[in-house]
């Protein structure tokens, strides 16, 4: 197909900031509203209409959430992680995207933190001084 027979509609006009999913979202650190790291963006969740053929004039697919979990092994070696290891953080919780992804205040518990919490409760907090700031 040469340029003159291109029947695709024009690309949508960009309003606001253009984000490159690979450069600006994947592998970014996510911080909760108190600035505590809650995980790294491992994948993106797209709206259902992103899969299969997209009808002309249909609404363009959208990013509906950030996916995070204990999946560093499959991301390095390839393969599909079990779905239980992934957690989707809905896009509405994203407060700001800069050098980190900041999330809004939420009651959601982040599954990826269970090792952190287990080690905190069973090891670190039991050693004298573990619960106090350094002097």
């Amino acid at each position: 197909m040469n340029a003159s027979s291109n029947t695709f509609p024009d690309a949508p006009r960009q309003r606001g900031r253009l984000l490159d999913a690979r450069l600006h979202l994947l592998d970014r650190q996510m911080l909760d509203d108190r600035g505590v790291p809650v995980g790294i963006v491992d994948d993106l969740e797209l709206s259902a209409d992103a899969f299969g053929d997209i009808a002309t004039g249909a609404r363009s697919p959208r990013v509906t959430g950030l996916v995070s979990g204990h999946v560093v092994a499959t991301r390095i070696l390839g393969g599909q992680p079990p779905p239980s290891r992934l957690q989707t953080i809905p896009w509405r919780l994203v407060a700001a995207i800069g050098t980190v992804v900041r999330l809004r205040q939420t009651d959601m518990s982040f599954d990826a933190l269970w090792v952190e919490h287990w080690l905190r409760d069973h090891v670190v907090a039991r050693i004298p001084g573990g619960r106090h700031a350094a002097k």
């Binding site: 450069l23 600006h24 994947l26 592998d27 970014r28 650190q29 996510m30 505590v36 790291p37 995980g39 790294i40 560093v72 991301r75 390095i76 050098t99 980190v100 090792v115 952190e116 919490h117 080690l119 905190r120 090891v123 670190v124 907090a125 050693i127 001084g129 573990g130 619960r131 106090h132 700031a133 350094a134 002097k135």
Partner: protein
């Protein structure tokens, strides 16, 4: 007045913090074998670490991101994991060498064997990381490390023939007893001792720990640009001491007591006391920095909470990694391996791994998305590109030279 004090403190800390077991051993070994014929490597290494630490510190202060967070963002999980594997392994070697160094320094002071001191040293490092605030930890070890100035004093007390010494340094000749391959092997070792990657992990993470902002950049630059070169002068002084006393006597450095022999010859017991305190502070400070670096690199790669500014319970995985690192380092020392040998290998491996961390930092320091208006200037980029070539050349040449020379034998 408070500012002047802060700057002076920062500079003094940088001088004391520049030297670690790698610099002590490598400079003494080189001095005893090559005289000052390799002294030119130290300024090359010092300028490199100034440049690298300055860039990493600026990136951390402006973007709030430490080195390994950036490496993962830029290289993706796969390349970053390979990078982490290499960096973490070399850092573990350095932790082992530094704990060994603390134990050897305590042995010099007490005559009690190093095996009894190793667990004490590791426990001391852990308790300081667990309970002492970052700034106090940095300043105390840095200031006590200034005792190593006794090496520079010793050079004067030994009253060497100055013209011969400067001639060795200015017009380097490879001694007849040594081959060109060993000469270049030790050049890379010295370069690696000055430019150890952990210094950069530590520097950039430290900038986040101390919550640097753009306003602090001037102070940090001054600390680095004045403190590290003065630390480099101490490095040359260590080599000069060895060149004056050990080289003519044909003594090769294989232990820490030989490193301090020239100082004792020059200044007796008082000088020995200073040098022991200095070595103890320098190795203990570096043991703290490398242990923290092991936690920093892993936690930053995996997106965990990290930092001494958090309570240990708020960065549980970070603290557990550091405990395990200290245990592994001590266990390796208990196999009876010679800490001096571990040190000699760790500085060469540092040079080999250097491009892995240098390149991502150089790229991000030029990325306005992270740096805004604080991207590298043209002058910095010219110098940084020249260093990229030097670092790559040293990294590629190190393994062939290690094989050819039998690790400098």
């Amino acid at each position: 007045m408070k500012n002047v004090f802060a700057v002076a403190l920062g500079i003094l800390t940088a001088i004391g913090g520049f030297l670690d077991i790698g610099d002590l051993v490598t400079n003494a070994v080189v001095g005893s074998r090559f005289g000052l014929a390799l002294a030119w490597v130290v300024p090359v290494g010092v300028l490199g670490i100034c440049l690298f630490a300055n860039m990493a510190g600026r990136v951390a202060a402006v973007s709030g991101r430490a080195t390994f967070e950036i490496i993962r963002e830029r290289l993706g999980p796969r390349a970053a994991a390979a990078n982490l594997g290499a960096s973490f392994f070399i850092n573990l070697m350095t932790v082992t060498a530094e704990i060994g160094g603390v134990a050897l320094a305590l042995q010099l002071a007490s005559d009690v064997g190093p095996r009894l001191w190793m667990p004490v040293a590791a426990f001391g490092v852990w308790i300081v990381i667990w309970r002492v605030r970052f700034s106090i930890m940095e300043n105390v070890t840095g200031l006590l490390g200034l005792c190593l100035i006794v090496f520079a004093v010793a050079v004067f007390l030994l009253a060497p023939e100055w013209s011969g010494l400067t001639h060795q340094a200015v017009a380097p000749v490879i001694p007849e007893t040594e081959s060109a391959a060993t000469y270049w092997y030790f050049a890379i070792a010295l370069f690696g001792a000055a430019m150890t990657p952990y210094e950069v992990f530590f520097f950039s993470s430290g900038a986040v720990e101390e919550r640097w902002t753009v306003k602090d950049l001037g102070t940090s630059r001054l600390n680095v640009l004045v403190g590290f070169p003065l630390g480099g002068i101490l490095s040359v002084a260590i080599a000069a001491c060895a060149a004056i006393v050990l080289l003519p006597a044909g003594i090769e450095v294989t232990s820490l007591s030989q490193v301090v022999t020239p100082v004792v010859a020059a200044g007796g017991k008082l000088a020995l006391a200073f040098v022991i305190v200095g070595i103890l502070a320098a190795t203990f400070g570096a043991a703290l920095e490398t242990t923290l670096s092991s936690g920093y690199t892993l936690a930053q790669f995996l997106g965990w909470a990290w930092g001494k500014f958090r309570r240990p319970a708020e960065a549980a995985r970070f603290h557990v990694v550091m405990m395990v690192t200290l245990l592994v380092g001590t266990a390796v020392l208990f196999t009876g391996i010679d800490p001096i040998l571990v040190t000699e290998y760790s500085v060469v491996f540092s040079a080999i791994a250097l491009p892995l961390t240098y390149l991502p930092i150089l790229i991000v320091a030029n990325d306005p998305g992270y740096m805004g208006e604080h991207v590298n200037g043209a002058g910095t980029n010219v110098l940084a590109s020249a260093y990229l070539v030097i670092i790559l050349a040293a990294s590629l040449a190190a393994i062939p030279l290690m094989i050819v020379t039998g690790a400098g034998q």
